[in-house]
């Protein structure tokens, strides 16, 4: 396919996507399940892609994503609560020490920057570790962040263990779609750059990559920092979606969920992560809801159906994917217009990967 037609079709598809979201919101109503899934799905898509950049593309098994999301969410909330309402929110800390507010978009970027700065600090010691030690160290780091943020002495800044609220949120699903879309596009460009190729080389074989002259530590750190930047942005979006933030929600189980999304989508596939996010959120929030409701057929109660069953079924499905479809939905392939065009024209794939 020609580059110009590809660009045109791509633009059209993106426009169609946004039109679809807009239409869905108009037709289904802003409080409908569909819109919830779209909003949360878009946010999780961004976070999952950021994790995939690290786990799937650079081969760094990091479990610190919830920590960086937490940093992002708090940064956003702290700097956007209107000055007039600070007295009410920071009621135990005399209104806190931050007495100004930043515009929403600037705060989102700042959320990413602060998360990235944390990542740079943490990465220096932690990234020297190998696979599972790295996983545990990053997991530990996320726990440390969670404890520190709730530290009483930091209360004037973080409001201790109390909620942060009344900061601006978004009122249309188009907003998270736009932000997540731009971020994912940037990540895609990164992956296709020389830098991204170097990361994949590190993933496939560290020693060979080093022998080819790739600076391992610098690339790992860069990947870690960039991934955390987008996790921070994702955290800020999540804060907007929820309307309130509290550090205790960002437990390690949140990281696990995101990791499972990445695995379901396929390690090393951006489109896979995006698809899996929407699927994951739709299933857990919407499609499997009926499993949680006690149901009667006639007078006979359907066995097993009660609160919590949804998550059991859900985790069994996830285990099945992990065990039997290890490559996930997409494996390491990407959704591309070329592939679809080829499928339609029935031409044989050139250079199809041997598998």
């Amino acid at each position: 396919m020609k580059k110009s037609t590809k660009a045109a079709v791509g633009t059209l598809l993106v426009a169609a996507l946004f039109a679809g979201v807009w239409l869905a919101e108009r037709l289904a109503g802003a409080n409908s399940m569909l819109v919830t899934v779209l909003e949360k799905g878009a946010i999780y898509a961004l976070i999952a892609v950021s994790m995939n950049l690290l786990n799937g593309f650079t081969g760094l098994f990091s479990l610190g994503q919830a920590g960086f999301m937490l940093v992002g969410a708090y940064t956003y909330a702290i700097f956007t609560i209107p000055a007039a309402r600070r007295m009410a929110v920071y009621q135990y800390y005399q209104g806190g020490i931050v007495q100004f507010e930043l515009p929403c978009l600037l705060a989102i970027v700042l959320a990413g920057v602060v998360a990235a700065a944390f990542a740079a600090l943490v990465g220096l010691p932690v990234l020297r570790l190998k696979s599972d030690y790295l996983a545990i160290a990053t997991l530990g780091f996320a726990e440390i962040i969670r404890a520190v943020i709730q530290y009483d002495k930091l209360g004037p800044l973080t409001n201790g263990s109390n909620l942060l609220k009344t900061y601006p949120t978004f009122d249309t699903a188009l907003f998270p779609f736009a932000v997540a879309g731009v971020c994912i596009a940037v990540i895609l460009m990164l992956i296709h750059s020389t830098y991204g190729r170097a990361c994949k080389a590190i993933r496939d074989d560290e020693i060979a990559a080093e022998a080819m002259g790739i600076n391992l530590f610098r690339h790992k750190l860069l990947s870690f920092v960039i991934s955390s930047f987008f996790a921070g942005v994702g955290g800020a979006l999540l804060a907007m979606y929820q309307g309130t933030v509290q550090a205790n929600a960002f437990k390690s189980s949140m990281t696990y969920e995101i990791l499972l999304i990445v695995v379901i989508g396929g390690m090393g596939s951006v489109t896979g992560s995006v698809l899996a996010s929407f699927l994951f959120i739709a299933c857990s929030e919407w499609w499997l809801r009926f499993l949680d409701v006690e149901t009667f057929i006639g007078t006979v109660q359907v066995p097993l159906l009660r609160s919590g069953f949804r998550m059991v079924v859900f985790s069994v499905v996830i285990m099945a994917v992990v065990l039997f479809y290890r490559r996930g939905i997409m494996g390491d392939r990407e959704f591309s217009l070329d592939a679809i065009a080829r499928a339609f024209s029935g031409k044989k794939r050139k250079g199809a990967r041997a598998k």
């Binding site: 932690v126 030690y133 726990e143 440390i144 404890a147 189980s253 009660r306 059991v312 992990v322």
Partner: protein, 292 residues
């Protein structure tokens, strides 16, 4: 000063002993499979729930052994179902599978209990209040270190002097060669999980006698801490895991005594990062070199 610190010190040694019982499970599995068994903390929690439900249905002297059997069975099944099919897969896949099992077990326990905290049954003798000098505490606090040491000594004897112990050492040294020498690695690995779950079951009885309520996610934190203890002591080393766990238990409670309760969890993980950066092999770990 000592009077004020003593209760915390006692609690530290006791919690340390309980972490040690979990940590041994981690360190043995890691020694053989090079896998962080993320589900181990949840098996520990499951043991707590087994006790809650069994004790409600039958007398304690029947329930307690049954709890151990059920926990061991759970550990065995988890290994067979979730880890065995992935034996030749990359290590990352097995770790993801472990995380998946942990997720599944937590959701399953949430479903069964309805998400409510359950009261742990009062075990005779272990749950009794006693006073040591100025401190009043439960029998479990005093018993834990003794039981821990006894069990660990027994375990070390098992590993040093029995045939299955020798097989375990061989498998942890070199997986493939051991297989070539005719060792049935699957049964050795199952045995590792059985021992680990057995110790976790004992640990859970002692732990929950002190803390009295069981919730589906309660095991996650002790599980992670026990893993840190295993790393601290040098992963793969059983005495190392015990000493690491004791130190972590004591430090954590001393930090609470000084008034920084918020940081008692954070301390453990900070310790982990420091240990990993400066002495990745831990206190007693063997040095390994990276092979191409």
């Amino acid at each position: 000063m000592f009077d004020r610190i003593l209760p915390y010190l006692l609690a530290g040694i006791s919690v340390g002993g309980q972490y040690a019982l979990i940590a041994v499970g981690y360190t043995m599995v890691y020694g053989i499979l090079r896998l962080i068994n993320f589900a181990h903390g949840d098996i520990f929690t499951a043991a707590g729930f087994f006790m809650v439900y069994f004790a409600a249905a039958m007398p304690l002297y029947v329930a307690a052994p049954l709890v151990v059997v059920a926990t061991v069975l759970l550990g065995f099944v988890v290994e067979r179902v979730a880890y065995k099919p992935l034996r030749s897969a990359p290590r990352m896949s097995i770790m993801i599978s472990a995380i998946g099992v942990s997720y599944l077990l937590q959701n399953l326990m949430w479903y069964v209990t309805g998400g409510l905290a359950k009261q742990y049954p009062v075990l005779p003798w272990i749950s009794e209040q006693i006073t040591i000098g100025p401190a009043s505490t439960k029998m479990a606090t005093v018993v834990t270190p003794v039981i821990t040491v006894l069990l660990v000594v027994a375990l070390v004897m098992l590993i040093k002097h029995t045939k299955i112990g020798m097989a375990m050492r061989a498998v942890s040294r070199d997986f493939e060669t051991a297989q070539l020498m005719g060792i049935k690695i699957n049964s050795v690995i199952s045995m590792t999980f059985v021992i680990g779950s057995f110790l976790a079951a004992i640990g859970s009885m002692l732990y929950f006698s002190n803390y009295t309520t069981v919730t589906p996610t309660i095991g996650a934190m002790p599980g992670l801490k026990a893993f840190v203890a295993a790393v601290f002591g040098g992963i793969g080393s059983i005495p190392g895991a015990v000493i690491g766990a004791m130190l972590i238990g004591i430090c954590e409670n001393v930090i609470k005594a000084v008034g920084y309760t918020t940081f008692s969890d954070a301390f453990t993980f900070a310790l982990l990062i420091v240990v990993l950066v400066f002495k990745p092999t831990g206190l007693f770990g063997e040095k390994t070199s990276e092979k191409v």
